[in-house]
């Protein structure tokens, strides 16, 4: 079924294998010369690699090897590492959830503490927060909102499922009990190294 590859085909194969970028037929000829039928060789190679883990593809007149699309997952193997959100991230998420869409300045006004950029990054990386356009006020600040993933992670069918302030009070979650313990100085506190502190 697979005929023994001739040297011209082998040369084309090797040239494409080592290439740093996709190659045009002219690029390939620079390496392998004119000693064969290049279109035929490319066609034969593409056929040969069609069902394999690596495919030869042509994109805009340039040829290159790439891994089969269905194998992408093995090349970027992800390892889950459970981590707990920092308090700053948790609070920022809560504010976005309750007040969305909100700008960073608004989050800071509500938290009474500056928000490090990294905090929002973490929430976006987690897939729970997304930029939701800009507010049409001077400075056009970016505004943030929660995502569908946020709802599903927290088991909410919509943001209206979030307990209201009255519910929180009834549950004792608004009691300022730990205020003294937190020792929060308020406005001048920056939670970590933030470039726009």
């Amino acid at each position: 079924m697979t005929p023994e590859p001739d040297d011209f085909l082998r040369a084309v194969e090797a040239a494409l294998f080592v290439a740093e970028t996709p190659l045009t037929p002219a690029d390939i000829k620079l390496h392998v010369g004119e000693g064969g039928d290049l279109p035929a060789a490319l066609g034969a190679l593409a056929d040969h690699y069609a069902g394999r883990g690596v495919n030869l593809v042509e994109r805009g007149g340039r040829w290159h090897f790439q891994t089969a699309p269905d194998l992408a997952h093995i090349l970027r193997r992800e390892k889950d590492e459970p981590r707990k959100l920092s308090r700053a991230a948790m609070e920022t998420l809560a504010i976005i959830a309750y007040h969305e869409p909100v700008s960073r300045a608004e989050i800071e006004a509500i938290r009474g503490v500056q928000v490090a950029k990294g905090t929002l990054d973490v929430l976006m990386e987690a897939g729970w927060v997304r930029p939701a356009g800009r507010r049409e006020v001077p400075g056009r600040p970016l505004i943030y909102a929660t995502t569908v993933d946020f709802l599903s992670h927290f088991g909410l069918s919509s943001r209206r499922d979030l307990p209201g302030v009255d519910d929180l009070r009834a549950a004792g979650l608004l009691d300022p009990v730990d205020l003294a313990l937190e020792g929060l100085g308020g406005q001048s506190v920056v939670e970590n190294d933030d470039e726009d502190a």
Binding site: L75, R76, P82, R83, E91, Y98, V122, P176
Partner: protein
């Protein structure tokens, strides 16, 4: 391949016009000379090699080449070895000159073997010279994906904390039901005159008071009684600590005295 590392060819000892930079030391020179014997190193004649070396050094000296000390040391050692090899057997020292010659031969073989091995190694299909890996591999990545853990409770608790921390605290003092001192003096003062004998303080309180107001009325009435007593308008009596407190109007004569 064998000749890959041979130092500049030595046509014959007499025509040497070569500097010592061509060799890495006496052993290297010896090996080069040995190779001119064109025999297997295992069959080399150490005696002949010694002759060659000493000739070479002599020739070099005549050519007024600068001689490194090591080459002269080797020359001296070889001259000693040569004379020992020529001596009758019974006068030989330990180790025997044959032994020394054998060791020198072994050393030359070893150096030659390693030189040959180096050449064969360098001639292999080397990555980046003869065979090539992909120049820009995409790379396999092990991405550590943070699986953030947070519960709905964490979320709402956080929100509660923010609200609790940042909402302005408004303290409203409830209007509490009290009987003022003035009221109490008025009431106790008017009622005590009507009482004939010792009467308990509680009897002076207004009827049908709810609990908070009753407490306030009792406290105010007590203070009012003290005030009225001070003014000499009534007398107070108590049999012991926490015993009932009795009031009655002061006798008229005492009031006159006061």
């Amino acid at each position: 391949m064998d000749d890959l590392f041979i130092a500049p060819a030595i046509p014959s000892p007499e025509t040497l016009t070569v500097s010592f930079e061509a060799w890495e030391g006496p052993l290297d020179l010896l090996l080069s000379l040995a190779r001119t014997q064109k025999v297997d190193l295992r069959e080399i004649s150490i005696l002949a090699l010694t002759e060659q070396y000493l000739d070479f050094i002599d020739g070099a000296r005549e050519l007024r080449l600068e001689l490194a000390a090591d080459y002269l040391v080797m020359a001296a050692w070889l001259a000693y070895l040569k004379s020992s090899l020529l001596l009758p057997r019974q006068e030989q020292a330990d180790p025997s000159p044959e032994d020394l010659a054998l060791r020198l031969q072994l050393r030359l073989q070893r150096l030659h073997a390693m030189r040959d091995a180096a050449a064969r190694l360098m001639a292999r299909d080397r990555v980046g010279r003869d065979v090539f890996a992909r120049r820009k591999p995409e790379g396999l990545r092990l991405v550590k994906k943070a699986l953030w853990r947070a519960s709905l409770y964490d979320l709402i608790q956080s929100y509660g904390q923010i609200r609790a921390r940042t909402q302005p605290a408004v303290h409203i003092i409830a209007v509490r039901p009290v009987m003022t001192l003035d009221e109490a003096i008025q009431r106790v003062g008017s009622l005590v005159g009507a009482a004939l004998d010792w009467t308990r303080l509680e009897s002076f309180l207004p009827p049908d008071l709810d609990a908070p107001k009753a407490k306030s009325a009792l406290a105010s009435s007590f203070v009012a009684a003290l005030e009225l007593a001070r003014q000499g308008r009534l007398e107070m009596q108590q049999d012991g600590i926490f015993a009932p407190l009795y009031l009655r109007a002061a006798p008229p004569n005492q009031e006159a005295v006061a």
